[in-house]
Symmetry: C2
Subunit: 511 residues, 2 copies
C-alpha cells in the first residue's frame, strides 16, 4: 500500500481484445467507482504502462483491497510479475479522437491525422466504442481516395515490415466471403515449385468457418516465429503460415475485431486492411481476387469494378505491382467447408485424385497462372499452362509436402466429425442457387473452425441435377450442442434452391 500503489494480481479471465482491470470497491487508495464512470484507467510501473477498462469487484477472493487484478490480455501486455506495485491514473481520452470527431463532422483528414489515430489504436488507447466511432465515420463513401491512401499508409506504419531481400515477392489475396475458397493452399505450392518467392501469411477465421491458417493447420504447424519462417522460405520459396506471429499492421487486427461483429466493413476499409497487411508482409507483386455473386461480398459487377479501381489507385501509390481478377462468386468453392473438409479437398487436387472438386482445381490454376505471369520470363497468357503442368506432374504435391515438412508435419487425419446429418433434396430438379452466407453460417455453428472436423460437405453444386431424397449436403460436428444448433439453422433455411434448369443462377463473370 506504500506510495499509493497496488499489487498486481493476474486474473484468469480472457477478455478478448479488450484490457480489463479489476479493483476492489473497498480499495483504500483509489475510488474505484469514480474511475469506472470515466471508463478507462492507465496502469503504470516505472517502465511499463497499459490502458484498461475498470470493473469494480466486491469479492476478496477475486481481488483484495490492496490489489489490482488484470485480465489475461492486460497482464500479458503490462508484462510484469504478479505482486509488482503499480500506480493507477485517469486515462485521458486519446488525443486523436478529436480528428475522429472532425471526420464525423464531415472534414477531410490529413496523413498526420491518420498517423495519430493509428498510433493511438496501436497503443490500445482506443476502446471498442471509439474504434466503432472511427469505423462508422470513415465507412462507406466517407473517405476519398487520398484519405484511403493515408489510412493505408498509417496502418502499414503501425507495425513491423518484413523484408525478403528479393525484387519479386509474390502474394495473392481474396477479399473473402466464399466458403471453401482455399486456393492459396494450391497456388503457393504451384508458384513456389516454379521457383518464384511466395511467402504466404494468412489469418485465422474470425467470423467465417475457416481461414487458410486454420485449414493449413490440419497438415502442418502454422504458428512459426518470424526467424524460422525466413529459413523455410529461403529453402522452399514458399510457406503457408499464420500471419499473427509477426506484428504486421496490428491496427488492422484491432479494427477487424470491431468491424466484423458490427458487419460494417466498407470498400475503403477493405482496401486499407488488405494492402496494409500485404505490404507489411513484404509483397512486391500482388494478385487480388474479387468474387462476384448475389451472396458474395461484392454483389454487382459495377461494384467489383469500383473496388478494383480503389485497389489499383492505392497499390500504385504504395509502389506494389498489383493486379485484380474478378471471379465467379455464385457459390462455395470445392465441397468442404471447415478445416478438415477443406484440407481433404486440397489434398485431392494436389494428388490428381479423380474425386477432386473440379471447380477448386480450375480456380487455383487460373490464379496460379496469373501469379506466374508476374515472372518477366513467362510470356503473357502462358501462366495457366505452366501451372497445370506443375500440378499434373506432381511437382506441386512434392512442393506442398516439402513445405509441410519444413513447417512441421502433423499427424494427418482429415476424417470429418462423428456426428453427421444429411440434408436431402425436397424435390427433383436442378440446384439453382447456393447461399454462401448461409452455408458458412451452418458450418460455423456446427463448430468450425474451433472444431477442426466440424463443417459442411456439399454433395451437389450449382447446376447439378438432383432427385428428390438424394443428399445435397452433410453437416458434421463433434459436440451435441453445436450439432443441434446447426441442424436447427439448416431446418430454418437450407441454403440452396431446387428449380428448373432455366432458373440456374447465371454468372456475372465471363470466362
Amino acid at each position: 500500500m506504500s506510495n499509493g500503489t497496488l499489487k498486481i494480481r493476474r486474473i484468469a479471465i480472457d477478455t478478448y481484445h479488450e484490457n480489463v482491470a479489476y479493483m476492489s470497491r473497498d480499495c483504500e487508495i483509489y475510488r474505484a467507482e469514480g474511475f469506472q464512470a470515466l471508463s478507462k484507467i492507465t496502469i503504470s510501473t516505472n517502465e511499463h504502462r497499459v490502458l484498461a477498462v475498470l470493473n469494480v469487484v466486491d469479492d476478496i477472493s477475486i481481488v483484495e483491497p490492496d490489489e489490482l487484478g488484470l485480465s489475461e490480455q492486460a497482464y500479458k501486455q503490462l508484462n510484469v510479475d504478479e505482486g509488482t506495485q503499480v500506480s493507477v491514473d485517469y486515462a485521458e481520452p486519446p488525443k486523436s479522437m478529436d480528428a475522429v470527431r472532425r471526420k464525423i463532422n464531415g472534414e477531410r483528414l490529413s496523413q498526420q491525422d491518420f498517423d495519430n489515430i493509428a498510433f493511438d489504436i496501436a497503443e490500445t488507447r482506443y476502446s471498442k466504442m471509439e474504434m466503432a466511432a472511427f469505423l462508422v465515420a470513415t465507412g462507406q463513401n466517407n473517405l476519398d481516395r487520398d484519405e484511403l491512401l493515408f489510412l493505408t499508409r498509417s496502418m502499414l506504419k503501425s507495425g513491423e515490415r518484413m523484408n525478403w531481400h528479393e525484387s519479386l515477392v509474390a502474394d495473392k489475396h481474396c477479399i473473402g466471403g466464399i466458403p471453401g475458397n482455399r486456393t492459396s493452399m494450391l497456388v503457393v505450392p504451384i508458384v513456389a515449385a516454379h521457383g518464384m518467392l511466395i511467402p504466404k501469411t494468412s489469418s485465422r477465421a474470425i467470423t467465417s468457418p475457416s481461414g487458410t491458417a486454420d485449414t493449413m493447420e490440419m497438415l502442418a504447424k502454422v504458428n512459426l516465429p518470424p526467424k524460422h519462417l525466413h529459413t523455410i522460405v529461403r529453402k522452399e520459396r514458399g510457406c503457408l503460415a499464420w500471419g499473427g506471429t509477426a506484428k504486421l499492421a496490428p491496427v488492422d487486427d484491432m479494427l477487424i475485431s470491431v468491424e466484423r461483429p458490427l458487419g460494417i466493413d466498407s470498400q475503403g476499409q477493405m482496401v486499407a486492411s488488405i494492402l496494409s497487411k500485404k505490404l507489411a508482409a513484404g509483397s512486391t507483386h500482388l494478385l487480388i481476387d474479387i468474387p462476384v455473386g448475389p451472396t458474395a461480398k461484392v454483389r454487382h459487377m459495377r461494384e467489383a469494378l469500383a473496388l478494383r479501381k480503389l485497389f489499383e489507385f492505392v497499390g500504385d501509390q504504395l509502389d506494389v505491382h498489383l493486379e485484380v481478377v474478378i471471379t465467379d462468386g455464385r457459390q462455395p468453392i470445392g465441397r468442404g467447408i471447415g478445416p478438415a473438409l477443406e484440407a481433404r479437398d486440397i489434398m485431392q487436387v494436389l494428388e490428381n485424385d479423380p474425386e477432386a472438386p473440379p471447380d477448386l482445381r480450375q480456380k487455383a490454376l487460373q490464379l496460379a497462372g496469373r501469379v506466374l505471369e508476374f515472372d518477366p520470363d513467362v510470356r503473357g497468357g502462358q501462366g495457366y499452362a505452366i501451372a497445370r503442368d506443375i500440378l499434373d506432374s506432381g511437382r506441386a504435391l512434392a512442393k506442398m509436402n516439402a513445405i509441410i515438412e519444413a513447417q512441421g508435419a502433423k499427424q494427418i487425419d482429415l476424417q470429418p466429425g462423428d456426428l453427421c446429418h444429411e440434408i436431402r433434396a425436397e424435390s427433383t430438379g436442378f440446384i439453382t442457387n447456393i447461399d454462401n452466407f448461409q452455408m458458412a453460417k451452418i458450418a460455423r455453428i456446427a463448430g468450425a473452425p474451433m472444431d477442426k472436423k466440424a463443417g459442411v460437405n456439399l454433395l451437389k453444386k450449382l447446376g447439378e441435377p438432383v432427385v428428390k431424397g438424394e443428399p445435397v449436403y452433410r453437416i458434421y460436428a463433434e459436440f451435441p450442442s453445436d450439432f443441434k444448433f446447426a441442424k436447427n439453422l439448416a431446418a430454418q433455411n437450407r441454403g440452396y434452391m431446387i428449380g428448373s434448369d432455366e432458373q440456374i443462377l447465371k454468372s456475372f463473370v465471363a470466362f
Copy 2:
C-alpha cells in the same frame, strides 16, 4: 449438467452498463472460445432471457466447468436464483442493425426503423460498439428534422410514461455544460410555492462534477419509488428527485452511457434525449435553458438559435408547450462546483444570506419567472417580480424545507472536504475568462460527485479585480490521490485568465 444446461453463479464484478457472462474454458457442454469470437450470447431459463458478452475463465475458483458466471448487472437483469439451470445460445445480431447500416449508407429512416432500434436497445440487444455505430450514424447533420422527431418518439415509447392528471405540469431543463448551474433547486421551490405543479426529476452526474440529483442528495433522499413521488408531489406541488427509479426513456440512459465517453453528442441527439425524458416524466409545459459561451456546450449565438428551432419543431409535434431561453454561459454559475459546495450556495440564496452568490440568484429568478408565466393567470412580464417576491418573503425556503421533509431530510453537513488547496492570482488585473470545462474537470478529478465534499469553490468571478497573490479559487478533496491529481491538473491549466478590463470576455446574450 443435465439437458445441456449450466448452473448460474453470481460473480461480484460490477461491469457498468454491460452484461458479462463468465464461462469456463473447460465447459463440457458449450465451446466457450467459439462463442466468444461471436461476441454475444443469449442466456435463458423457461421464463427469463438476457444477452451478455462472454469472457472465458481459466480459474475454477471463479467458475466451475458446469457453471455460468454472471456479472452483477447480468445477474440482476436475469433475475433468477444462484444455481438455476440455464441454457446458452448464440445471440443473433439485432435485426434493427440493418437499419443502422442503411443509415450509415446515407438512407433516411422511418418511424418503424427507429421504433425497432429503440426496442432492441431497450432489450439490451445492442453492444456498446453497436450503440456507438448508431450514434455516429445519426450524429451531426445526419438526421433531418422528421427523423429527429421519429427518434424522439421511439425513445419516449421505449419506457414508462408518468401521468400527473393535471393540465399544467411544468418543468425546466438546462442542456448542461455549465458547472454550478443548479437553478432547478431554486426554481422548483419558487414555482411550487406559487402553486404550480413542478415534479422535477433529474439525473446524477455522468461526466460532470455534480448533477441536480447529486446536489439535492446533500439535503434529502432523492431515490424515491414512483408511488411515494406521487404522494409528495400531490402534497407539495413539487419535488427534486432522481429520475432513475421510474423507467423513463431507458434508451436515453443507455445511449448516454456510450455518447459521453465518446464526446460525440450532436444537437439532434441532445434534443431527442431531453424531450423524450421530459415527456416521459409527464411534462406539459417545458422551459429549456441554452447557455452560450466560448467554453459552454453551445459556443455561438447562431448555433443556439438553430438548436432552439429544433426544440420548438419537435416539441410542437409532440404537443408540449415549449419555450427556450438563451442564457449567459461564459462562466460557472454561483461559487461552488461539487455537491456540498453547490448545496451551500443554494441554501444561501434561499435564506437571503448577503453572502449568497448574486448570479445564481439572478438566473434562478429569471428562469422561475418564465416558468411562472406558463400560468394563464400571470400577466406576461410579471413572472420575475412574482418569483422575487416568493424568494424574498421566505416562502421559497419554507417550500424547500417542506420538500426536503417530505422526501426524507438528511443530517445536513455542507462543509467542504478536509484537503484544501488555494490557487492564487499570478498577477494583478481582472478575471477576463473562466473555463467551464477545465473547472468542471478539476472538481471532477478532486472526487466530485462520488465524494460529496470534493470540488472547487470560486472566490473571484468574471470581471472581478484581483491582486497578485489573492486566492482565485480553492480545490477541496477527501482522498490524497484525488487531491494530488486535481492539484496537478490545476497546475497544468488554472482554468482562468487575468488581464486588463478591456479583455474581459463579453456576453453574447443581451439581457
